[in-house]
Assembly symmetry: C2
Homo-oligomer: 319 residues x 2
């Protein structure tokens, strides 16, 4: 099966199914309607086999994850998703793989009411590059630069499960079947917090999505905002599976895990009730994990109450 037939069969839907796109895949460009007066929010993430996913991942989960990590960027920005493009390099024209990948991608896209509006399919080492587009009214996008001293530091969901699953794949840890399936799901099927991001517009002072580990991503917020933070280790939200691990493993997964795709955001302390209401409305738990300080740097408060200054390093692809 050739390139064009694969695209036609698995990635192109009837034009009438498109709400946001004036023109879907199949021409030189796709055409997207952006609501009057809104700005376009754009993010692009590339997933490379062996770097961002293991060869053992099921293709439907891979399709899900490639879109999820991009939607997570829109969520962190408080943007309403509209559409995406997918550029895909495949070692060979493996139709069952492509079919399952498309199925996983479309299932998530449909849940968020967005459309695959175009892309590219080529031969090459397995690589997925999705560019996602959304809209946000001018001045309302959540940025990394808005954290202010005194703000409460919040995080959605649980942290560290994806990293725990990776430790199992690396052979450093063994988990019972259902526990492994739960953390593997966190690694392979992250849920982008789009609804939460939308409800945080006008409420959060800054936001970022956690992709490179809490310390690294918090570091981006602190540098861009010109502030510091004090984080309570005991307050970091974790699953029962992670909570059952040795303390050192828990801390590693929570602080430097990566692949969490939860939102880390700040808000004025007076906004606490509204933040909890926004979270409830979005169907996701949020936890207050510390606060922003005027003094730059990152202080971690251990379970014993002792403060420790840490360097804010997350994952670096060439680090």
């Amino acid at each position: 099966m050739g390139e064009f037939e694969l695209i036609e069969r698995h990635f192109v839907r009837p034009q009438r199914a498109l709400r946001h796109a004036a023109l879907g895949p199949g021409d030189d460009c796709a055409l997207l309607r952006v609501a009057a007066g809104q700005q376009l929010a754009v993010s692009s993430d590339m997933l490379v086999e062996g770097r961002h996913f293991l060869s053992t991942v099921a293709p439907d989960r891979l399709g899900h994850k490639a879109l999820a990590v991009n939607l997570s960027d829109l969520a962190a920005c408080g943007a309403e998703p509209l559409g995406c493009t997918l550029a895909l390099a495949l070692p060979r024209a493996d139709e069952p793989f492509v079919a399952a990948l498309a199925q996983g991608l479309f299932a998530l896209a449909d849940r968020h009411g967005i459309e695959l509006i175009g892309g590219d399919l080529t031969a090459g080492p397995l690589n997925l590059c999705i560019t996602v587009m959304g809209q946000v009214p001018p001045g309302q996008a959540l940025l990394r630069s808005g954290a202010r001293a005194g703000d409460t530091l919040w995080v959605s969901g649980c942290l560290g499960d994806a990293r725990l699953a990776l430790e199992v794949f690396r052979g450093r840890l063994a988990l019972a079947g259902t526990d492994f399936e739960a953390v593997r799901r966190a690694m392979e099927c992250p849920e982008p917090r789009v609804a939460l991001g939308l409800t945080l517009r006008g409420l959060a002072s800054s936001a970022i999505d956690l992709s490179d580990g809490l310390l690294g991503d918090l570091g981006h917020v602190l540098r861009r905002s010109g502030v510091g933070a004090r984080v309570e280790l005991a307050a970091l939200p974790r699953s029962a599976v992670l909570a059952a691990q040795a303390p050192a493993m828990q801390n590693e997964c929570l602080l430097r895990g990566g692949d969490d795709y939860e939102l880390l955001f700040t808000a004025a302390p007076t906004a606490k009730a509204r933040v909890l209401q926004a979270a409830a409305q979005s169907g996701v738990a949020v936890s207050a994990i510390g606060h922003i300080t005027a003094q730059p740097g990152l202080l971690l408060v251990g379970d014993d109450g002792r403060e420790q200054s840490v360097s804010a390093l997350g994952f670096d692809h060439f680090g």
Copy 2:
């Protein structure tokens, strides 16, 4: 040097240098302004080493080409370019390579007044994925589906030089130094016909950019428009270097060459003077190479006046 430092040093420009972007690289999303009442035109192309470019290409030319092939899609759509994202997988953090690649990309971006608004940098087999965004008033985009029987078939520039260069790299042909440099330049530094695309709004009935070879890309237009075409072989525009080759080589390069990035478009015969004026205004030559027929199929008229029916097959990555 790490991922974030490479990005900061080579891909991020001061926010004040951005005209179209309300927010450039460095946050979860970039923010782009789309003019009131216009639609967003989007295209995404992925370039894989050994497939879309040879390892011998100079990195500044690679940066140029990765953006050029995307701008060419906007040109074919008649859209005004606004910005692009670059997702880049690199085998290693090779700073001179990255610096030259960014320089080539920005040189072309600057000539078209567009901005690199975001992207991704990761380790992996060399792969460049650019998504380009432009704007076009509703109903004015040039589509593949608008060709009508009787329309004149036009092409910009010269065809086949990129393929001729590839034949040299493949060792099937030898060319003198300056001749080789000229066709190599066509292969490595295509000029996207953005200005021509803009002047063809409201004038061309259909358009496509030539990336997979004339026959294949013309085939897309014919299928989408439900028409056929009659093409005069002798009318296909070619450089002096290509014209000096054996007839079989000329035809192969002209018809199935690929990587031309010229515009193939149709217009009513009555629009001839306006087409020539649009071309002159855009600083690029255009040639009438045949016409659209009501009868589906593609007829090639040879130098001897004989008609030959051909199958419209272009390059297929899995064909």
